[in-house]
Amino acid sequence: MTEILTVILLIIGAAFILISALGVVRMPDLYLRMSSSTKTGTLGVGSVLLAAAIYFSELGIASRSIATLFFILLTAPVAAHMMGRAAYFNGVPLWKETRYDELKGHYDLKTHVLTGSDEQPSADRVAEETEQPPAT
């Protein structure tokens, strides 16, 4: 039973990892590439780690493996968000067929603060947003 589960998880993990690498090569845009590498890559790596946890089927090793899996699940979105934010400020171009850029005009490119709309923001809105901690 554990062997069958390990085999299934290993094959699923390898397939998703290959798909994520293909997406990083083939996607037209940094943001789409990042979507592929973060989500699919995390799923693939998580499957392989879970396969290792089931294969050894020993409490100490399985808990270490699952702790690593949870760490990856927690940190991959944070790292991807920071990279996407940094890329947006750097002016990395979007794909030419992107229809909506909802952040357009909403970021103050000097102070890196998110503003409400592209009109002049109202006074209380500005006061609310200056309380946010500066971009780190």
């Binding site: 062997e3 390990t6 085999v7 290993l10 094959i11 993990g13 390898a14 990892i17 290959l18 994520s20 690498a21 293909l22 990083v24 090569v25 940094l30 590439r33 990042m34 590498s37 890559g41 995390t42 693939g44 790596v45 392989v48 780690l49 396969a51 290792a52 294969y55 050894f56 020993e58 090793i61 270490r64 493996s65 702790a67 690593t68 760490f71 990856i72 940190t75 991959a76 944070v78 790292a79 920071m82 990279m83 934010r85 940094a86 890329a87 400020f89 750097n90 002016g91 990395v92 490119l109 890196h112 971009a135 780190t136």
Partner: protein
């Protein structure tokens, strides 16, 4: 095919995937592209280490995977911080 043999096959697939990510690292038009490719390569190396632990039947390598996960997160955050400062 034994489970060890399957793990070796998985390592082969992972090597191909790391090679594909390396193509993006070389080609990447902008610096964030390269950082994303590096991030994917470190994430894939975690899976590589886990598959290697199965292939050699040595559970101690799982510790290596967790340390690589920690280092890769710190590296990506540092790169993102400096890229954002540069803007």
């Amino acid at each position: 095919m034994s489970l060890q043999g399957l793990a070796v096959f998985i390592i082969t697939v992972l090597t191909v995937a790391i090679g594909l990510a390396f193509i993006r690292l070389v080609k990447g038009p902008s610096l964030p592209d390269r950082v994303v490719a590096l991030d994917l390569m470190t994430t894939l190396s975690i899976a590589f280490v886990a598959a290697y632990a199965i292939a050699t039947n040595q559970a101690i390598f799982i510790d290596v995977a967790s340390i690589v996960a920690l280092i890769s997160f710190l590296g990506t955050i540092a790169f993102a911080y400096y890229i954002e400062k540069r803007a």
